[in-house]
């Protein structure tokens, strides 16, 4: 049986409002997810914990691949052992919907895992929202990052049991 939904604070409600389409980005960050933001965060947090990982670890791996991919100057570049990464930046920065200080560069990172024949795309905003807030976007969002998909494609090592 799932846990009862947690009570959402006014502050969380305000953050959720900033995540709606047209406020920060065209599609927003929630997709068709009808859950409260606090429940989205709680359930994703639980999944990451079940895998004995942390959001910080996941964001760190995303950051590593992004930094290695920068050498390609916008083209795909090889990143050992078997990745190809493309980092593409456009002009401008976006604010974090959680109200975190500063602005986040508009950067798209495409990662191809050539061995597993999988591909995933994420942004600097994703790296920030995952690392700082444990947020992978709402279900149904075209930019939602499924945790398992991230871990397997980027080969984030699970700690030994």
């Amino acid at each position: 049986m799932g846990a009862s939904p947690m009570k959402q604070t006014v502050q969380m409600r305000e953050i959720q409002d900033k995540m709606k389409p047209g406020v920060i980005t065209r599609d927003g960050f929630l997709g068709t997810d009808s859950r409260n933001l606090i429940d989205i965060l709680t359930e994703d947090d639980a999944e990451v914990k079940r895998l004995n990982l942390s959001h910080v670890q996941i964001a760190q791996r995303m950051r590593e691949l992004r930094d290695a991919g920068k050498n390609g100057l916008g083209d795909f570049t090889s990143v050992p052992p078997h990745f190809e990464v493309r980092v593409d930046m456009v002009r401008g920065k976006l604010p974090c919907p959680f109200g975190h200080p500063g602005l986040i560069q508009k950067t798209n990172i495409q990662v191809k895992n050539l061995e597993k024949k999988r591909e995933i795309t994420f942004t600097d905003m994703h790296i920030h929202m995952i690392g700082e807030h444990g947020f992978y976007e709402g279900k149904g969002s075209p930019f939602r990052l499924e945790i398992r998909d991230l871990i397997e494609t980027l080969e984030i090592e699970l700690p030994e049991e």
Binding site: L73, V90, G92, P95
Partner: protein, 369 residues
């Protein structure tokens, strides 16, 4: 007393109390919150008188002094920073996330959050006095590539813009089906200063972008749009040094403006333009740049493709633009460089340029940041 009468008396009492409270609030707002007129002294010389109580950013805008802002004053971009000389009290919680310790030491404040409760003295860059808001008509929309559009805006009011080649404007996206508030985005001007009645922009489609979705999917010729500017410090320095230009994608815009300005002023300085793209489909204005080679005294255009397709039949330079640059630099003597593109491309290009002996203080750039 009958229950109904008690009920009516109770309702009447509550109504009376709320009415009195409302009147008190209106009087309080008109008196306590009434700051009267406030003077803003700017750069120790210009003084304007505004209605007190409003944010500094908006009050300056009403006086036609435009501080850069990407969020229209909602406190979500951190761009509208202003140095305040007088005492205006402690930092607000809404300012603190955007102000570094170094900025606090200089009393830099976020002008959209600072409400004018008393006279204030501020310092702003002199070039901001040249910034205006322009109402424009979309004169043309042309696809340059599959993801870059050229837009020409004809200025209506005011009808002329004065700027340096290389500067940028802020484009206002009005409320439309995707947004409930207007937003602003910065774009370099591709037109040269002599075309003072119009502004040309080269805009690249950004996935999930509010502004580029509006431009690519909704904007039509004949529409009215608002821009403000000019802004920025990216412009050709007045020297006789050889020039190296480096850009990729929509980074071409300010370089194009500078090149046309050089042509019109018969500037004979030697200039090389390294333009990076992936394949032929990403290479735009090739013919126009080759034409400039004929019209500019000492100019060479060097496009480089990093991943040309077989069907491109590309015979020009290949590889990363920084590798091509490295192959071509044969002297650092009396050379300046002007770069426009992503921070990654610029950092890599700066590295190549300094490795080849060009000092950092002679390298000017407009990072997409």
């Amino acid at each position: 007393m009958a229950p109904l009468a008690q009920l009516l008396i109770g309702i009447g009492a509550i109504s009376a109390v709320t009415t009195v409270l409302a009147v008190i609030m209106v009087i309080a707002d008109a008196t306590i919150a009434n700051y009267g007129d406030v003077q803003i002294k700017i750069n120790d010389e210009k003084e304007v008188t505004v209605e007190g109580g409003k944010p500094l950013l908006g009050s300056l805008m009403e006086e036609k002094i435009f501080i850069p802002s990407a969020c229209g004053g909602r406190g979500s971009c951190g761009m509208c920073k202003v140095k305040v000389i007088s005492d205006v009290g402690d930092y607000l919680p809404t300012e603190l996330p955007w102000i570094s310790e170094e900025e606090k030491a200089q009393n830099i404040r976020l002008s959209c959050q600072l409400k004018l409760k008393k006279d204030i003295a501020i310092q702003i860059p002199e070039e901001l006095f040249n910034v205006r808001e322009y109402e424009c008509e979309v004169a043309s929309l042309v696809d340059l590539t599959y993801d870059i559009k050229q837009i020409i805006l004809r200025l209506k009011e005011p009808a002329e813009i004065k700027f340096k080649a290389g500067q940028y404007i802020q484009f206002q996206v009005p409320e439309y089906e995707l947004t409930s508030e207007s937003v602003y985005r910065a774009y370099s001007m591709a037109s040269q200063p002599s075309r003072k009645n119009e502004v040309e922009l080269e805009i690249r489609l950004v996935p999930n972008g509010i502004c580029t979705t509006y431009i690519f999917e909704h904007l039509k010729e004949g529409d009215t749009v608002t821009i403000n500017g000019p802004y920025g410090d990216f412009h050709l320095r007045d020297t006789d040094a050889r020039i190296i230009f480096i850009a990729g994608g929509s980074g071409n815009a300010p370089i194009k403006s500078i090149l046309y300005s050089m042509m019109e002023t018969n500037n004979t300085r030697e200039a090389l333009y390294f333009f990076g793209a992936r394949a032929v489909r990403d290479l735009f204005l090739f013919d126009e740049m080759k034409e400039l080679e004929k019209n500019l005294a000492n100019f060479r255009y060097i496009p480089a493709l990093s991943e040309p397709l077989p069907e491109d039949n590309w015979k020009g330079e290949t590889g990363l633009i920084t590798d091509v640059l490295d192959r071509h630099i044969n002297s650092a003597e009396n050379t300046e460089a002007y770069l426009c593109g992503s921070p990654g491309m610029i950092d890599a290009a700066v590295s190549v340029l300094t490795k080849n002996g060009i000092p950092e203080e002679k390298i000017y750039y407009d990072k997409f940041a």
